[in-house]
């Protein structure tokens, strides 16, 4: 009999994604679900969906979930984790959610070294509200609120979250990936797994940034969107591990005890 090599992750509910065709959110959800299954943390995980296209993430992920107001996920995650240190707490956030309205909450939860995980979807626009400029919109990129393209003198520069947060002493593991190719998807899954493992081991704050296509608001086909991540977006947001202090933190813990 043929071996089954692909099936629905156990903690991905039997629901049809509401995401547009070619959207990176669906892939990211699936990866989170696979990692939760593989690490066996479905019973202890608590997820926090954002205000954004992923607001309904609780319809898909079969773990305990509590909605956050726009940008407040990391504050809520901090409160949950402090009261439930054995829980595996993650917030799932878009770029508007994390880097604009919620920058204070994400910055300071990172700086406190909260032992939480953030899955950060960077699609360079505000998806849910119809394609306005995000903090991560790149220069010259056209959005509904930058119809002439993002202009550095009036709109400033794209915010580089991994670079910013990895400069904080409180953070332990920070990586930027992209889900625009099978290899990228595999890498992203590894990063998500590493981030959750970092939390399970009690090593502190972890964040995975995922460059994620939004064909609808980029006004491109899904295939062109994937190409654009390679040709343009990842030039502004280079992929890679920005910080991995997991071994160092482990060692210093062992030395202390």
């Amino acid at each position: 009999m043929a071996k089954k090599v692909f099936s629905r992750p156990k903690c991905l509910k039997e629901a049809i994604f509401h995401y547009c065709p070619g959207c990176g959110h669906s892939i990211a959800h699936r990866l989170v679900a696979e990692v939760i299954d593989e690490l066996g943390i479905r019973g202890t995980a608590i997820g926090i969906p954002p205000a954004g296209c992923a607001v309904l993430a609780y319809n898909y992920l079969d773990v305990d979930m509590i909605e956050a107001q726009h940008g407040r996920g990391p504050a809520m995650a901090s409160g949950i984790k402090r009261m439930l240190p054995d829980g595996i707490v993650f917030s799932y956030q878009g770029d508007g959610d994390l880097a604009a309205i919620g920058i204070a909450e994400s910055f300071h939860s990172a700086n406190r070294g909260e032992n939480i995980t953030i899955i950060f979807i960077n699609n360079a626009v505000y998806g849910m509200t119809g394609g306005q400029m995000a903090p991560t919109t790149i220069l010259e990129q056209k959005t509904t609120t930058t119809p002439g393209g993002r202009n550095k003198t009036s709109e400033g520069y794209p915010v580089k979250v991994c670079e910013l947060l990895s400069s904080l002493d409180g953070t332990t593991y920070i990586e930027r990936c992209a889900v625009n190719s099978p290899a990228g998807v595999n890498k992203t899954k590894k990063a998500i797994k590493k981030a959750f493992q970092c939390q399970i081991d009690g090593l502190g704050f972890s964040l995975v940034e995922i460059l994620s296509p939004c064909p609808t608001n980029w006004k491109m086909t899904p295939i062109d969107s994937c190409k654009w991540i390679d040709t343009t977006m990842s030039k502004v947001f280079p992929l890679g591990v920005f910080k991995d202090n997991t071994t160092a933190v482990k060692k210093s813990r062992e030395a202390a005890s």
Binding site: G43, E67, R72, S78, G79
Partner: protein, 352 residues
């Protein structure tokens, strides 16, 4: 039990911890810093206690919301400008039916205002404050003993109705010292099914306020409204002071009510029969109790450290039933009982 002498801010902190509060988040602002500092000092000495100095009042309210979702008893505190920032989270807690205590030690406003005691946040507190169709239970304590008792009761009510409860005091109440006795807290009653602690081997839970279907959202609104009606029917508290023979009744809460009692003593010494009606719950406002008083008394005077906010609730209760006068000192001014006595005397003579 022994009496202890403590300041208002510290009393709230001590009462909260005794009531089982195990998570506090807050951001410094005068005149309530002593409460934040009390929680920092004392929560770390109780098992499972967590204090977090947040990056903002917004973060604080969402931190306590998260902690509350896990089933912990939680509190945050601030003063007027910071309470404005918390409104997003208070609305969210009401929507998600999560219990939690918010303390507002009011100061002068609007804007940055000043750091003197004031009562200008009555509308914000009693009308919901944030967006959407919801209410917050609001206590207006007037003595240190009440600060202790009502803080403890606030936790019970928040659990009972799964809703945020606000303690609305002012800078004067926060700073003043009086001897208090801390009562024994009641055993907590809060069902585990409302707690988010990981699904284990069971069904996963969702806590949310986002309800996209308007018919479902409407039902949620009515469900909350029915809960608020039960609160209105069962939870109003008020005090009547020397109203039995009164010809004029002052309506005042919190610090204003303390001043009113001082004024009443002076007026009674001069033979004027003046009493006090003091709402203790500001929402629900003890409307029917006040109207009942109008069956025998026709002359009321509302006194607030604002330009007249509770005045509107008094009008809703008494318009058409009695005459309503008003005296207000906004902006952080705390009038003396002598000043109030003069004002009341003029109203008293006008009618008598």
């Amino acid at each position: 039990m022994n009496k202890v002498l403590m300041s208002g801010n510290n009393i709230i902190g001590e009462a909260a911890i005794r009531a089982g509060c195990r998570f506090y988040a807050g951001y410094p602002i005068t005149p309530q810093n002593e409460l934040t500092e009390y929680m920092a000092e004392h929560l770390r000495t109780v098992e499972g206690g967590v204090f977090l100095q947040s990056e903002s009042e917004i973060a604080a309210i969402h931190m306590i919301t998260g902690a509350s979702a896990t089933g912990a008893r939680v509190m945050t505190s601030s003063s007027s400008p910071g309470i404005s920032l918390k409104q997003e989270g208070i609305s969210s807690m009401a929507a998600c039916e999560l219990p939690g205590i918010i303390v507002n030690i009011m100061r002068g406003g609007p804007g940055l205002g000043n750091i003197r005691p004031a009562q200008g946040d009555y509308f914000q507190a009693t009308r919901g404050g944030g967006h959407g169709d919801y209410r917050t239970i609001v206590f207006g304590p007037a003595t240190c003993q009440e600060l202790a008792d009502l803080t403890m009761d606030a936790f019970d009510l928040a659990d009972k109705y799964r809703t945020p409860v606000m303690i609305l005091a002012d800078g004067m109440m926060g700073q003043m010292m009086e001897p208090v006795i801390f009562k024994k807290p009641k055993p907590r009653q809060y069902n585990e099914k409302f707690m988010l602690r990981g699904a284990g081997h069971g069904k996963s839970k969702i806590i949310r306020g986002l309800i996209l279907d308007p018919i479902d959202m409407e039902e949620h609104n009515w469900k909350l409204a029915r809960k608020y009606q039960v609160i209105i029917d069962h939870e109003t508290l008020h005090e009547e002071y020397k109203t039995e023979d009164a010809k004029l009744v002052i309506v005042a809460y919190g610090t204003s009510a303390r001043i009113a009692k001082g004024a009443i003593k002076r007026l009674r010494d001069k033979g004027m029969k003046v009493g006090l009606f003091r709402p203790i719950t500001l929402w629900p406002f003890p409307e029917l109790k006040l109207r009942k008083l109008a069956e025998k008394i026709n002359n009321f005077l509302v006194f607030e450290m604002s330009t007249g906010q509770m005045l509107e609730d008094v009008r809703l209760a008494l318009q058409g039933y009695a005459d309503i006068g008003f005296h207000g000192r906004p902006g952080g001014v705390v009038p003396t009982p002598a000043e109030l006595a003069n004002v009341v005397a003029r109203h008293y003579e006008k009618k008598d």
